[in-house]
Symmetry: C2
Subunit: 297 residues, 2 copies
């Protein structure tokens, strides 16, 4: 089967029986070049839905359960019906069986609120070849910091802002990347209006000071990154100290190393921050890449 | 032709000749029940695009030019190619000629960044019957104030937040309406984290103190409402004072009347704010409705 590969999914209630064998009846393969969605889809009209992107490396879907758990968490924050994770898992398995078993691919899972005034959510899975990120894993990225407009306490105060949910409303994230390119950089690190590190538009931030690795506390204002968690487990297994905490912009600037980590691009070193060169930990970045490319569950 | 009515549009460059007669070749009518969009559409993957919703009353499309001007402004803020407004205008004319010439309808215009890695934006028009808003125009709405998480100066400081553009990333707007329903209300008025009135999730706010009508200054942090502007013109023609200015939550609470105004629901009185009854100006609300239902350009 060639890429891209698209599967429309009729979402089942979370408590539908976990047999697995009949889930395939709820899947419909469609040609990626063919229209599959109606214009009254709320995903397209309102960015109203949630998603996950996971990596498939040489036929192994990475971190399926953490991604599905986050999909369920995002759905909960957005008052969407709880997804049937066994059904989603079966959809991923079917896709992995159909797509090339070599190389790096990306699978996107989308759960939309459905057609306007419609009875139920719509859902689909879309698998495509990953871009070739080998060069950027080697050479790193130049990043800028951008004010996300929120202060550090906003998530607790205003849950309707849906911070912590991976929604389809990513226009600001995309605009922040365009702003980086406009300034001659490659990527962005969002900071709060009161000066604390949040996350990248499509990545988590990890910093190293000495032998301590830190990432912003998942207070609800940022997404809890699956790749970041996987790397922290790896680091802990190898005897390193890891810490979730508030990180000021100043601490970011004075870090011994900074990485942006995400499911498909994996770990990339920040080699320049707001135009100032940053120290780079090349051996560790290489270890990270090697680990992240190995089969992970 | 029955509703809904959908027209796919191949967007032309802004400077394509303004002949009008051949624009129809760039329009394709599609059945609303049929899929028309690919899953790799960035509108659906990222909420990455802009839109307008305008009203059609008894066969007359209301305020077409102001809506198209705002579409162009939104596209500019989002770094989308400038839309060809003559083409969009022709699309609206074609739709109006095809849909019922009686009653109230809504036309949505969508300009999406297009298919991922694709060459150009995608665009469509979708016409549907408007909900029956007569009851709510009579009885008004109960509203709550919700913190939008931004301070008053954010738009100048952080243009990448796309405030002032009508993007498809409306998940937060929809969540704010759900929060209102959860609290037993009908609608929301967003306020800044430093206590100033912004706008509703799908409407503008107008308040009256004595004979002065005010709306929050369109500083870039809010959408400049087409219906609000139309009403201000109407009020000025009738000798009333209108003012664009910063409005504190306290001023909202002590107003002699508050309206939420939007293109399709039109002007609805706020009869209760955060659980407290508000004074209602029923005669003026009726005049507003009468004016807003009359043909406007």
């Amino acid at each position: 089967m060639s890429l891209p590969y698209t599967l429309l999914i009729t979402p089942l209630p979370a408590d539908a029986p976990d047999d697995g064998s009949w889930f395939t009846e709820t899947f419909t393969e469609v040609e990626a070049s063919e229209p599959a969605l109606r214009v009254s889809e709320l995903s397209t009209q309102r960015g109203d839905g949630v998603f996950e992107t996971l990596s498939v490396v040489n036929g192994h879907a990475q971190e399926v359960q953490p991604h599905l758990a986050r999909l369920a968490r995002s759905a909960e924050i957005c008052d969407l019906p709880a997804p049937n994770l066994a059904q989603w898992s079966a959809a991923i398995s079917q896709a992995v069986a159909r797509i090339p078993s070599q190389g790096e691919l990306a699978i996107k899972l989308v759960l939309s609120r459905g057609v306007e005034h419609g009875p139920s959510p719509t859902a689909w899975l879309h698998a495509s070849a990953a871009s070739d990120f080998s060069p950027v894993r080697q050479s790193g990225v130049r990043a800028i910091t951008l004010d996300r407009g929120y202060d550090r306490g906003v998530a607790e105060r205003a849950p309707w802002l849906l911070l912590g949910a991976k929604t389809l409303s990513y226009a600001v994230n995309m605009a922040a990347l365009r702003e980086a390119h406009r300034r001659g950089a490659d990527d962005t690190i969002f900071v709060t209006s009161d000066g604390y590190v949040m996350e990248g538009p499509t990545s988590s931030v990890i910093i190293r000071h000495g032998d301590v690795f830190s990432t912003p506390a998942p207070s609800g204002a940022i997404l809890h990154g699956t790749t970041q968690r996987s790397l922290f487990n790896y680091l802990e297994r190898h005897g390193h100290a890891v810490s979730y905490r508030d990180i000021s912009i100043e601490e970011l600037r004075t870090a011994d190393a900074v990485w942006l980590v995400s499911s498909v691009r994996l770990a990339v070193a920040v080699i320049e921050l707001d135009g100032v060169q940053m120290p780079v930990d090349a051996p560790l970045t290489e270890l990270f890449t090697e680990y992240l490319l190995s089969p992970r569950d």
